[in-house]
Symmetry: C2
Subunit: 454 residues, 2 copies
């Protein structure tokens, strides 16, 4: 196929407009055509205006699994890749499609490493309600995330875990394409999302991958069917590219855990590693972590993996690994004993229930927007974030609440006006839905897509 591309390039017979036409009419693009398109885009031969028309055609016509795999591989090949083979052992990785209060990476990196599976986690900062994993970790005084590839490898060889920002020129095609999709209403295309996520994962060279595909009102994908489509496609791409990949579909109808904010989530991760975290966060970490151990061949099934992880929490090994991780990256590891050393917001405002009842709904997106308004997240790439700002939810779906009882605590910075705090308070109150009777138990893990795409 590569020969075909070269031939077509030499004779100048490929025109991007013909490829757009082909996709627009519903045909699948070939490996050679997708290589031409992505190479041309990164090198400037295919201009933005053709790529945005192509993205819109893909939005409407979709892609086959094979096409999405070829697109992903073309994107991987657009830049550097990291070779982590020098690290002994089966390196585990995970990725979440993003929700509100998703503290799982902070818990899973030390927890899985404590089980003897190396975790070399490359994370981003990203845009969203809170910062990304890097921002959360940087709320720990002194914590450094800008490791070189050599430092990352040394850290993982040394203590089994490191979390760092990307320094290499990984997947430039994705950076360009994502920026373009963001301003052309072509972000929410399942194959483009899958190629974006999987290209970055493949370029970072893990040994296996567990995906957490969020579904529900607080997630990007609202419908279970869409979540399954994305999960199946990403598993198809990963396994098709030789990376053992599975996905859990998990509920994001209410925020995960109780804390939403950067330092607040670090504190919650510490609690969870101590066995004192919110039940839903612990359940999800065990489910994802069990699969990470299973794919790393540490155990033969994910349930056995969960048992190992529970024991590591119970005997303090997991928290000790987090201490090691923090110390190894120049952070103040004493936060694991005294979370009061983390940045703390000047104002703490308790939000109280205005009536009796059972919580039957807690709109995740609305809580996320309120946290964003408090300054915990980034609206643009250049926004600065307040590490201490956020919201702690005292009540979640299923809980009984009496009028006047605290339902949440707002953590607001000194600069936050009382109008802002008042508005956030109202947002929180209206995010809660109460009924006279409790609703049924909320299922957290909604489904699994395994290596066979089933």
């Amino acid at each position: 196929m590569q020969n075909e591309v070269d031939y077509l390039k030499v004779v100048g017979r490929v025109r991007a407009s013909d490829l757009i036409l082909k996709k627009r009419s519903g045909s699948a693009l070939s490996e050679a055509e997708l290589n031409y398109l992505i190479d041309g885009y990164v090198q400037g031969a295919v201009p933005d205006y053709q790529m945005s028309a192509m993205a819109m055609a893909i939005y409407f016509m979709g892609m086959t699994e094979e096409e999405a795999l070829f697109l992903t591989l073309a994107m991987v090949n657009s830049g550097d890749t990291i070779s982590l083979e020098v690290i002994p052992g089966a390196r585990a990785d995970k990725h979440s499609t993003g929700g509100v209060g998703d503290t799982t990476t902070l818990v899973l990196a030390p927890l899985v490493a404590a089980a003897g599976v190396p975790v070399a986690k490359l994370s981003g900062r990203g845009l969203g309600h809170t910062g990304g994993t890097l921002d959360k970790l940087e709320s720990i005084p002194g914590f450094q995330t800008d490791l070189s590839a050599a430092e990352l490898i040394a850290a993982v060889k040394n203590i089994g875990v490191a979390v760092a920002g990307q320094t290499a020129n990984l997947v430039p095609a994705d950076k360009m394409l994502y920026a373009l999709r963001d301003v052309t209403a072509t972000v929410d295309s399942i194959p483009l999302i899958a190629a974006s996520i999987m290209s970055k994962k493949l370029a970072a060279g893990p040994g296996s991958l567990v995906l957490d595909v969020k579904c529900g009102s607080g997630a990007f994908l609202k419908e279970l069917e869409q979540a399954y489509s994305l999960a199946r496609l990403m598993c198809g791409i990963g396994n098709g590219a030789g990376l053992e990949t599975i996905a859990l579909i998990t509920s994001m109808d209410q925020p995960l855990g109780r804390a939403v904010g950067n330092a607040l989530e670090v504190e919650e991760a510490i609690l969870t590693l101590r066995g004192e975290g919110p039940p839903d966060l612990e359940e999800l970490c065990l489910a994802l972590g069990g699969w990470m151990l299973c794919l790393s061949k540490k155990v033969s099934d994910p349930e056995a993996g969960k048992d190992i992880l529970k024991a590591l929490i119970a005997d303090g090994t997991a928290l000790e690994k987090f201490r090691e991780l923090i110390a190894n990256q120049q952070g103040n590891a004493a936060v694991t004993e005294d979370p009061g050393l983390l940045p703390r917001a000047e104002k703490q405002v308790t939000v109280k229930a205005v009536k009796d009842g059972f919580v039957v709904g807690l709109k995740a997106e609305q809580i996320g927007n309120a946290v964003m308004a408090l300054g915990a997240g980034r609206e643009t790439r250049d926004s600065s974030i307040d590490p201490a700002a956020g919201i702690v939810l005292e009540k979640k779906i299923g809980d009984r609440v009496k009028k006047g009882e605290p339902i949440a605590v707002i953590h607001a910075g000194h600069a936050s006006s009382s109008e802002l705090v008042y508005s956030v308070e109202n947002q929180i109150i209206s995010a809660y839905e109460f009924e006279d009777r409790p609703c049924g138990k909320q299922q957290l893990v909604l489904g699994l897509v395994d290596q066979k795409g089933r």
Copy 2:
């Protein structure tokens, strides 16, 4: 509505990406939104990459008639408009969506003017199998098409007819948008085609408009249903904007007339104005011309208009008007008596039938491509054209042919290689389909969409 635009601009709340999302989800854009989009595009605030994504979203989701009207008016307002009200009488105009061998404008401009209806025709050069109307007229020795607006108006006041190129800055939004659509596989969107055609017509300020929407294998639109959609939408836009507009849907399954080429079509127009032209070309000119007289209130129904036009052909008035038109634009009017004064190709090669039979098919697109290969048309804006090159079809659908009898004559320039001529010969032979029995009569005018859009 205009206030809404201004307000939105001031507060900076309109984002092109939101408008793309709105269209992508199938909603109709408002007048204010379309004005913002087109103004922004022409002024550079909306970049090409957003406009191409929008064009692709319009391709998939379509537009309501109201939306298409607002888009058209926004495009008209992007540049200058020509005011022809100073010309006394009801100015008639016509537009064809383009086919192979479409000589109607060359016949209709003098013919309708001969009936006392002023014709101020602004034409283009365009890309295609042959040049545009301007190129065809410029094959007459000395003929000048670059008239200023004042010269155009003076010519129409003086002799009732002028055909000129556009000098004013008419519809810059269309120029930009068309160039973008051409390279992003978004040309063949019915609402975008309709807005492109109608914006140029409205900006040129005619009194009424007769559209010739071609349909069939040699036309842009292959299916009758598509042709009706485009015709109804253009009539809706025209009449919605206050320009009385009707459309005929006409067959383009075989080339119109016998000549395909620039000077060859001028010669055919002269023959037709003499009453000696091919029956199908005459029939279509009378049908379109009858409606032009009717919309100009010269007659109360198109059939009465046809009778007037037939009489003007029969008594020589029509040809005399063509003579006047040519002389008034510095051309050699003697061509009307002696078409031998037109440029003539060095080589004329007769193509002969390889078997007996009746012509039941004559692939228009294939003939067009053969004429293009001979150098009669433009592949890019900078291509030069050979005015003498082309093909004359001696046999058309329904004709009986004996083996060895001429079916066509190739007019090729000195520089044409014998390989080229041989290849054109084969293209012509394979464009003809023969059967033992004649097929039924081909209908030329397939339908009408009137001012009410019916």
